[in-house]
Structures are given as structure tokens and as C-alpha cells.
Amino acid sequence: MDIFEVVQPGPLTTVQDLGRTGYQQYGVPTSGALDDYAYRLGNLLVGNDEGAASLEITLFGCQLRALQDSLIAITGADLAPAVNGNPAPAWESLLIKRGQLLSFSQLRKGCRAYLAVAGGLNVPEVMKSASTCVRAGIGGLNGRPLRKGDVLKAKAADTSAKAARIPAKYVPAYSNDLALRVILGPQDDYFTDKGISTFLNSEYTVSAQADRMGYRLEGPVIQHRTGADIVSDGIPLGAIQVPGDGLPIILLADRQTTGGYTKIATIISVDIPKVAQAKPGDSIKFQQVKGAQAVALRQKYELQIEAIKSLLRP
């Protein structure tokens, strides 16, 4: 069922879901929505399973024409969403009428917005996922971002779900100064004490080289003991790689599965959505936590999503 026509794609709009699991052993990146919190909540608002295929809209410029009446929800970054030029609410379900123009025209807060559609977007699954990996040319719309003239399909046009809204206390406030919690390792022993101290006590800035694969940061150089090269090993989501120049790179959903540079630490899973909403120029400070703390925070995070679920579906 045709649901939207792409009038303007914006700089990078892709179809994403929870990502591709089980194929990293073959060198295939996981991909998936970078901000899983905003993405999952968007789906819940329109009555979908939390992992239904949605759009990830990066920065502003995207314009879509509705080809059907449909229930949608916009979550994540505030990109000044509007329907026919009138401001449209975010973090709540919204009925859009056939012929109306949905636009994202300005970057106010954050970096990536999510558009969930009742029924979920309908694209062929590749390796059991709808997620687009542009670098590998797989998933979504033929492995590429949206283009002008593309027609998006939904699995079912369902406008019956009842109106829903995320309570304000669950809506994140995106900041330009991020505090990201990390667990040291796996190669923290490749750095001098001074290097670790620089990493944990300095302010870094997101450089212009920041995409779904990773964010290069600018700031004080982190000192290695002898060198930055290791025998290649796996790269977890949120790993902070420090190559020979001593500048950290945060690795994200489209990261290569393996690599040969030292990794000083890993960002804890509940802080990945913060990274997803960071953009060039934002500042980052890293704060060390223990594993048990990270797990407690993850439990709280999942319980919060469960609480929202029961609110929306009493």
C-alpha cells in the first residue's frame, strides 16, 4: 500500500529497524536505528511492535507527500515538523490526510528524527532486517537512502489505533554538552596513565566527520604506551577507537565489524541514543562507570520503556 511520496529526501533519510543480528561473523554491519529509544517509542505510539520498519531522518530538508490517510508518529530530534506548513506535534500519534505535505525544515534540537507509520514500512527484508546499510548497499530501498520520487509502502494502512502521547517526563531533552558514561576496555592497557586521564578529564568536540558509522572527535591527544595497532578484533557498538593520531572515534551502528586499532573504552548501551542525537560542534565528556552500574541503568531504561508500553496499551 503506497503511503508516502518523497518530495525532498533531505541529506540522509533511510529505512531502519532494530538492526541485523547474527551476520557480523560474515562481516556485515548491524545497522539499525541509531537512537533506539526514540525509534521504539515512535512505533509504540502508532500501535506497532517496537521493531517495525521506520524512517530515520537526519538533519532537515525532508518532505513527504501523504498518498493515504495514515496514523504516524514523529519522535527523536526536533526538526520543526509541519503538516502543510503548520507545526505538527512530536512524541504523539498524528493523523495525516491524503495529499498533505509533511516537512522537516529546521534543526532545533538533536540530529535524527524518526517517523513511525502504523503498520510499519514495507520493504524486503535482507538478512532478516529492513535496515539500510548504505556502505554495504543492502536493506531499505535497494540499499540506499531515500531519493526524490521514491514511493514508500506500508504493510497495512491502519488509522484505527487510538490517539497516544508520550508523557513529558519520558521525552528526552537533547543537550549540546554530552556526558557519556563508559566502561574501560578492551585495550585500556595500551594507554599510559596520562592517556587514560586525558580521555576521562578532557572535553572533546564532535567533528564534521560524524555519520552512522562513527563520530570522529577533536580535542586533546590520548597517549598510547607503544602503539595504536593491534591484531584485528571485533568492534562492539559504542566502542571508542583511538588510532595513531590519539584522537577518539566513537563507533556506531554502521561500523565495520572488525578493526585493528586500540579501543580504550565502550559507551554504555543506555547512552548510545545521546550519541545518536549529537551533531558536529557538540561537546562530549566521558565518565567512567563500572559494569554493574551500567547493567542497573540498562534495567531502569528497559523498565521505563515497559512502563510507557503499558501506559499506551492499558
Partner: protein, 243 residues
């Protein structure tokens, strides 16, 4: 060097590295393969996937289903209870390759660098059995161990903008195969008509970490014939199992 006991290294709250050594080593890689198999066979609730590399296995898990401590204990138990006798035989895959000319524009470079004739380079390259240590860098790209130092060659000073899919290259003491067309700096000496990576195939990669491969010489005419059977889906991969 192989460690006496594997090291458990943090990959954050949802991943852990089990590292068996600090260098590229067939024995360390065998431990990685063994552990990956054991974890898969045990089907541990909360384990999401695992990524084998040269000397370590990265295991992704859901900490709300299995704690890092429980996972570690389970892995120790698996290692204690798995014996070498249970190790399945390894697959040896034959990869047909044509060489020289359009199939391997850098064959002459590698030959000159090593004071060999192109024919000798091909003979040495075909005569070896390669360990598939890991896949990475791009989907389906195999990192192979076992290249003879006699045909090692440095990377190209200027990478090529387009290396065709199936190109077999040499970079330093490594040899590998490009699964898809891409830019690259490896010296390409041969090419296979096989598709190393197809998203719609299950599994999508032709090769698996832990197996072996050999290169089998074919003529340009055979290349064209095999390419056709690959296209219409009738190609039968030659593989046998070895100790």
C-alpha cells in the same frame, strides 16, 4: 603468544571479548573456532551473536538475560567439557581463479618484486592451503593465513579506484579476496568468478572463519563457463573435509 588462560576483556555492558593470544596464530584461531561452535551448540539464552577474529571471540549478550559473570562461568564450563575429539573436520574449499592480464593486472609487479616469473608466483600461490582466520573489513572479505613469504609484496603506492569483485590480492604477507567491487590498495594477481557475498543467500558469505581454502587454476575460457553457472545458480562449490 598463546595465553595459559583466555583473557576476558570488556566490550561494554553488552559484549565481552574472549582473547586467546596476542598474535596471529593458528592455535589461537583454533580456540576461537572451537569456542564459537561450543557457544552455538549450547544455545545459551541471552547470547545474541558472536564474531570470530584472529585470536579472540567477541560475544554479544543481553545483560538482563545473562550477566557477564554467568556468561563467563558458562564459557569456562564449555571449555572444560569440550574435548578435541569432538572437533568437527574442517572444510577445505576450492576457489577457481584465472590469472594475469585483466584477471590479475599486478601479477607482473608481484613477480618482479620477488625476482620470480609470473608463472612461479601462480604456482606458489596455488600450491598452498590457506586458513580462513576471519571475515571482516567488508561483507564476506576473508582474511587468510598461509601466504608464502616468497610472494609477499607491498601494497600499491596509489590504491586503485576500482578493483573488480572476485579479485585475489596480496598486501604484505596477507592474501585476500575482494567480495564486491571496491577501491583498494592490494596487488591483484588473480580473479575468481565465484560470488563471495550474496545478501539473498543463507549464509550470505561463501566462506566461513575456521575453514581452509585453496586456489585452483582455471583458464579464461573456464572462467567464462563458471561465471555462467554461477549466474544461473547451478555452480557446485568443490569442498572436502580434512583432519
Amino acid at each position: 603468544m598463546i595465553y595459559d588462560e583466555p583473557r576476558f576483556l570488556s566490550g561494554g555492558d553488552r559484549a565481552v571479548f574472549i582473547e586467546f593470544g596476542d598474535s596471529i596464530d593458528p592455535e589461537a584461531n583454533q580456540h576461537v573456532t572451537d569456542l564459537k561452535r561450543a557457544i552455538e551448540a549450547a544455545d545459551i539464552p541471552g547470547v545474541v551473536e558472536s564474531v570470530p577474529t584472529y585470536r579472540s571471540l567477541l560475544v554479544y549478550f543481553e545483560p538482563l538475560q545473562i550477566s557477564a559473570a554467568e556468561l563467563r562461568e558458562t564459557i569456562h564450563h564449555l571449555r572444560r567439557s569440550t574435548t578435541v575429539h569432538e572437533r568437527p573436520k574442517r572444510k577445505l574449499v576450492g576457489i577457481p581463479v584465472a590469472y594475469g592480464g585483466e584477471f590479475g593486472p599486478d601479477l607482473e609487479v608481484v613477480a618482479r618484486h620477488n625476482n620470480l616469473s609470473p608463472e612461479e608466483v601462480v604456482r606458489i600461490h596455488s600450491g598452498a592451503r590457506y586458513s580462513i582466520y576471519m571475515l571482516g573489513f567488508m561483507p564476506g572479505f576473508p582474511y587468510l593465513g598461509g601466504l608464502s613469504p616468497k610472494i609477499a609484496a607491498p601494497r600499491k603506492a596509489t590504491p586503485r579506484l576500482k578493483i573488480p569483485a572476485g579479485s585475489v590480492g596480496i598486501a604484505g604477507n596477507q592474501t585476500g579476496i575482494y567480495p564486491t567491487e571496491s577501491p583498494g590498495g592490494w596487488q591483484t594477481i588473480r580473479r575468481t568468478p565465484l560470488r563471495l557475498f550474496e545478501p539473498a543467500r543463507e549464509p550470505p558469505a561463501l566462506l566461513s572463519a575456521g575453514d581452509y581454502l585453496t586456489f585452483v587454476r582455471i583458464t579464461p575460457e573456464e572462467f567464462t563457463a563458471i561465471e555462467k553457472t554461477v549466474q544461473n545458480g547451478t555452480y557446485q562449490l568443490t569442498a572436502r573435509f580434512i583432519e
